[in-house]
């Protein structure tokens, strides 16, 4: 059992989302940076899709009933266990009754906290993700509040062994780390790679050039659905309405005002604004950490390059997974 003493600003139970239901108008959602969530789960011996906590800006204060293993990653939060720094990107032992806190992030915006075994909330339409708008999934379909108690699944044999080793050695944390932002071929700071979108040529040549070269500023209109950016106005050469069609996590759509919106995993299934670009999957996590005023640029890449980046990151992840499995095996 995990008790929520303080909920933080916006803490929700997430897994990798609820795919397969977009045809019914149901959003996919899931951890906004699914790769970070997978890495946190990996550290504590969970399946990729195990349910964990996502937090924003400042996180929760939680207490566990039993000794357990946790791992967190994401923005630069001041995370503490029993007042001491809680190391990130690795398995950490937390004793029964010890308090974990996530004080406000020094930079970045979101973090993920995985607990060995994963959070035991009911599957709704195949997923444990909180679907806030419909009030279902996650814990009672809503962000956590003080006093919530979340059940946990049993830790894996691997996690139990890691925990036992830490306990006998009197150690707080393991020595190895899993850092999702270093896997594959990370983009340069302040830049994300992106493909041309289906309606890219609805924009003037100049607007296309501007899109892929300007420094775009994140606005405070940002949530789990998307981030609105501000910068030079993107002019269109093709007027008229687009027939509503699918949008994707990473789709950059441009409403009539000419300012782009980058869609995140909790986007709607259908959109009606021209899709100028699509952010490479491997770089989408950057948008979950942008604060109002932060800037970002788009670097144009081809689909083949995006796939290459994707495969490179997955290969790294598979290698780390194999390496960790051997630690105790």
């Amino acid at each position: 059992m995990m008790r929520i003493v303080k909920p933080g600003l916006l803490t929700t139970v997430q897994d990798l989302g609820r795919p397969g239901y977009q045809q019914y108008g149901i959003v996919v959602g899931g951890a906004l940076d699914g790769f970070a969530a997978r890495a946190a789960n990996l550290c504590v011996g969970n399946d990729d899709n195990a349910a964990l906590l996502e937090m924003a800006q400042y996180g929760p204060e939680v207490i566990f009933e039993r000794d357990t293993l946790v791992a967190w990653n994401g923005g630069d939060f001041d995370a503490r266990v029993a007042g001491e720094p809680l190391p990130r990107d690795r398995a950490v032992r937390v004793a029964a009754g010890e308090t974990i806190n996530f004080w406000p992030a020094r930079s970045g915006l979101r973090a993920w906290l995985a607990i060995a075994g994963g959070i035991d909330v009911p599957l709704v339409m195949g997923s444990r993700t909180t679907y806030r708008r419909a009030g279902l999934g996650g814990h009672e379909g809503r962000p956590l509040i003080a006093g919530d108690a979340l059940k946990l699944f049993e830790p894996s044999p691997w996690a139990r062994q890691v925990l036992a080793t830490l306990q006998t050695g009197g150690k707080r944390a393991v020595a190895w780390t899993v850092r999702p932002e270093t896997m594959g071929q990370p983009a340069r700071p302040g830049v994300v790679r992106a493909l041309r979108g289906p309606e890219c040529d609805w924009f003037t040549k100049e607007a296309q050039r501007i899109f892929f070269s300007a420094a775009w500023r994140a606005t405070n209109e940002a949530d789990r659905m998307g981030v609105r950016l501000s910068g030079p106005e993107l002019a269109r050469r093709h007027e008229g309405e687009m027939v509503s069609s699918s949008v994707n996590a990473g789709t950059v759509q441009v409403p009539p005002a000419g300012q782009p919106i980058v869609l995140l995993p909790s986007r709607q299934s259908i959109g009606g604004y021209p899709r100028i670009a699509g952010v490479a999957s491997v770089d989408l996590g950057r948008f979950t950490q942008l604060r109002p005023g932060d800037t970002v640029g788009f670097e144009e890449i081809t689909l083949a390059v995006a796939h290459d980046l994707y495969l490179a990151r997955e290969r790294d992840f598979a290698r780390v997974r194999m390496g960790l499995a051997r630690l105790t095996g």
């Binding site: 045809q23 289906p198 069609s245 689909l303």
Partner: protein, 238 residues
């Protein structure tokens, strides 16, 4: 048919450019053919007015035999092949879904506004709205929200300049040229002309929604008493 990437994990199949019944039939045919049997690495298929979007996992595609340098072409090829030789399917017979609606009164506070705009009596608005034959082009915007085609021209009514903070679930609205059913209590700017006691979104069921793309909808006027009865928990309606 044009195939366009939507990011690095989805392909958009373009089956037409305008919203009409023949495009709709092509979308439905393609969607059904692709859904009839699993395609490797494909996680979901999403139909819209003129497109079907195929979501896939590039890593799973390579595991399934795609060349690392030509994943999209490989998947596009499988899609074209499937559409050329679709598996045997039952003939698509559109489902006609009967939707009881209590028009006007507390359930349809904007009926008079729509009537005034159309220069018709409220009774005539109800008659025309219920008489028309509607097609569910797609489901989107909210869980189970149908984008319906077929609203008679004289009932087209501009949206409210200021949306309502909360529209009760089941409300039937008219927004511009469209009519639809609000599945959840959400803010909304459409003109509310009535309400159905049916649950449009029922997450505990499979499928979790009342309507699907390709369905036909017939609205049927009911009295407030019938509405209350149908909405009662003892009712056998879903």
């Amino acid at each position: 048919m044009q195939i366009t990437p939507l990011g690095d994990n989805a392909l958009v199949l373009e089956l037409g450019t305008v919203i009409d019944e023949s495009t709709h039939r092509r979308v439905q045919t393609a969607w059904r053919a692709l859904a009839a049997a699993p395609l490797p690495a494909v996680s979901e298929l999403v139909p819209a007015y003129t497109t079907v979007t195929v979501f896939y996992d590039p890593w799973a595609a390579v595991q399934a035999g795609a060349p690392a340098l030509g994943i999209a072409d490989w998947l596009g090829g499988l899609v074209r092949e499937r559409l050329k030789n679709p598996p045997k399917m039952e003939k698509a017979k559109p489902r006609v879904v009967d939707v009881p609606v209590c028009y006007g009164g507390e359930h349809g506070p904007d009926l008079a506004r729509v009537a005034a705009q159309a220069k018709l009596s409220p009774e005539e608005v109800i008659k025309r709205h219920a008489k028309a034959d509607y097609l569910v082009h797609l489901i989107g915007f909210a869980p189970g929200f149908p984008y319906l085609g077929g609203l008679p021209k004289d009932l087209h009514t501009p949206r409210h300049a200021k949306p309502r903070m909360v529209v009760p679930p089941g409300s039937i609205g008219i927004g511009g040229e469209q009519t639809g059913i609000y599945p959840l209590a959400t803010p909304g700017g459409w003109n509310l002309i009535g309400r159905t006691p049916l649950r449009v979104f029922r997450p505990e069921q499979n499928p979790p929604v009342l309507l699907a793309a390709g369905d036909r909808v017939k609205f049927r006027a009911i009295t407030p008493e019938e509405f209350a009865k149908l909405q009662a928990p003892t009712s056998k309606l879903p």
